[in-house]
């Protein structure tokens, strides 16, 4: 699991690559919590383009960050092109909370970044 963090305006973009499961979710969660606070992020984009695997632990992780970000009035969305990932994401109801985009630019625009 590898995480690349980048700020665009007040939007934190987290690009995840590798496999996101319960084991790796702990590390990702800690890194994101720290980054959201330290960088005063208001919105967040999960870029899943380079994820090769995700199970429902990833859903738990995204919902956890969604709760944090919406509690400070921000928005969260997802970048993903994988059919398998999108099926998992929509069956768990996450698409009712955050939209899925094809590119980070569209995602950042949608949360009102820059």
């Amino acid at each position: 699991m590898d995480i690349k963090l980048q700020m665009k305006g007040r939007t934190l973009i987290a690009a995840l690559s590798g496999e996101l499961d319960h084991h790796s979710a702990k590390t990702v969660k800690d890194m994101l919590e720290t980054a959201i606070v330290n960088k005063s992020a208001q919105n967040m984009v999960f870029d899943l383009t380079n994820l090769t695997f995700m199970d429902s632990s990833g859903i738990g992780l995204m919902i956890g960050r969604y709760k944090l970000i919406t509690s400070i009035g921000g928005k969260v969305c997802i970048v993903s092109k994988s059919k398998t990932l999108n099926r998992l994401i929509s069956m768990s109801g996450v698409t009712k909370l955050m939209d899925i985009y094809q590119s980070t630019d569209d995602a950042v625009k949608s949360v009102g970044g820059m």
Binding site: D21, D55, I59, G60, I63, S92
Partner: protein, 143 residues
Amino acid sequence: MNNTKDNEMTLIFKSKSANESFARATVGAFASQLDPTLDELADIKTAVSEAVTNAIIHGYNNTTGDVHIHCEIKDRTIYIEISDKGCGIKNLAQAMQPLYSGCPEMERSGMGFTVMETFMDSLDVSSTLDKGTTVRMSKTLRA
């Protein structure tokens, strides 16, 4: 046309979260002799990951024990049995409901059983309190 030989394997490992990827990769490698499509392979690995994670974090929660996986291939069907000798499930019907999690404070989504059910053709769970849990699933791959 279909000359796949019936086959089986057993895998036993410690309930450490580092073994989650090992377990799904191993079952995936075993299933690959059926020439699954990438989608079928992803479905199997995801379902295995859910059951193994449950055994590790719920079954054994703060203790350690062995997780057993037994796989059989018959024709184009793979049968996967994943069991633990952990705490067991008190109310199985409730546990299997979508979005239900016994420990939401751990950031669980409660979607594990739903994922197994959706991504596999069959799912059968049996559990005895203080004795453990066994998950049986199967999937028939397209010819």
